[in-house]
């Protein structure tokens, strides 16, 4: 009889995340993972049915982790300006503290496996939808196709985060470090663009 050990499971999944970020999905096999995590392949199969099951469980857990961090101190009833600021600070903090987790999520979103994962109706998606529809109803936000909304509301932040994580800004401009004043400066412009 094999017993579950949550610490062991956590060590395996953390190693898997690290390997996926480093070598992509194809770089991950149950045997390679076992070797890297210092356990036997049999042990990995106690926790995960196969490679795909492992990746989907990982994605599910990482989604929850990210959503919890992003929704901290956030209320979908907030005024749009206040709520978006909380979102920006939470998202920036999460990316800077957990670059690997962020890269993993990014990889997942562009993977065919993503289609097997249902994120409609998750607390995060519900909170974001409610937030946006409240803001439109209160005339704090212009109604836009969701892709246009996202591209204006969040893409600028993620681009700054990318510059920061790369350690450099535009070519030829030297070092770049993201700071709260820079976040606020950018956010102000974003809010101006989104105001009705």
């Amino acid at each position: 009889m094999r017993l579950r050990d949550e610490n062991k499971r956590f060590a395996i999944r953390e190693k898997a995340l690290e390997m996926i970020v480093k070598d992509g999905f194809d770089g991950l096999s149950m045997h390679k993972l076992a070797k890297a995590a210092g356990v036997s392949p049999a042990t990995i199969y106690i926790y995960f049915k196969d490679r795909e099951d492992l990746i989907l469980q990982l994605y599910f857990e990482e989604s929850i982790r990210m959503s919890d961090a992003t929704l901290k101190n956030f209320d979908p009833e907030m005024h749009f300006e206040e709520g978006l600021r909380v979102q920006w600070l939470n998202r920036a903090a999460y990316c800077l503290q957990h670059p690997q987790r962020m890269y993993f999520m990014e990889q997942m979103r562009h993977s065919p496996l993503h289609d097997k994962f249902r994120e409609f109706g998750t607390p995060f998606v519900v909170a974001m939808k409610t937030f946006v529809s409240n803001a439109i109803r209160r005339k704090e936000l212009v109604p836009l196709p969701v892709e246009v909304y996202w591209s204006i509301a969040f893409a600028p932040l993620y681009q700054l985060v990318k510059f920061h994580m790369g350690g450099k800004g535009m070519p030829g401009t030297g070092n770049f470090e993201l700071s709260e004043p820079l976040i606020d400066q950018t956010l102000e412009l974003v809010l101006k663009a989104l105001k009705p």
């Binding site: 094999r2 096999s29 106690i46 049915k49 196969d50 490679r51």
Partner: protein, 80 residues
């Protein structure tokens, strides 16, 4: 299927097999599904050990090995 009280976890049995493709898996599937006590099972054909993973109650590794071997496929416990 009998409902198990939540504190009883099924045993997880893990084997290395000689199964090579889905056709062979379906031959074993018929046998496995005739066995009482198997809650879930799958074969990972992507893995070099073609791992058969079973969640079961009240079955031993020996029961599974005998069944799969009788169908003509290698089946041995994947050791820790």
């Amino acid at each position: 299927m009998m409902t198990q009280p939540s504190e009883i976890r099924p045993d997880i049995l893990v084997f290395k097999t000689g199964l090579r493709h889905p056709g062979e898996v379906s031959r074993v599937a018929v046998l496995l599904e005739s066995l009482d006590g198997i809650l879930k099972w799958n074969v990972d054909l992507d893995d070099c050990d073609r791992v058969l993973r079973i969640e079961a109650v009240g079955l031993s590794c020996y029961d599974i090995i005998r069944l799969v071997s009788q169908a003509g496929f290698l089946c041995e416990e994947l050791e820790d």
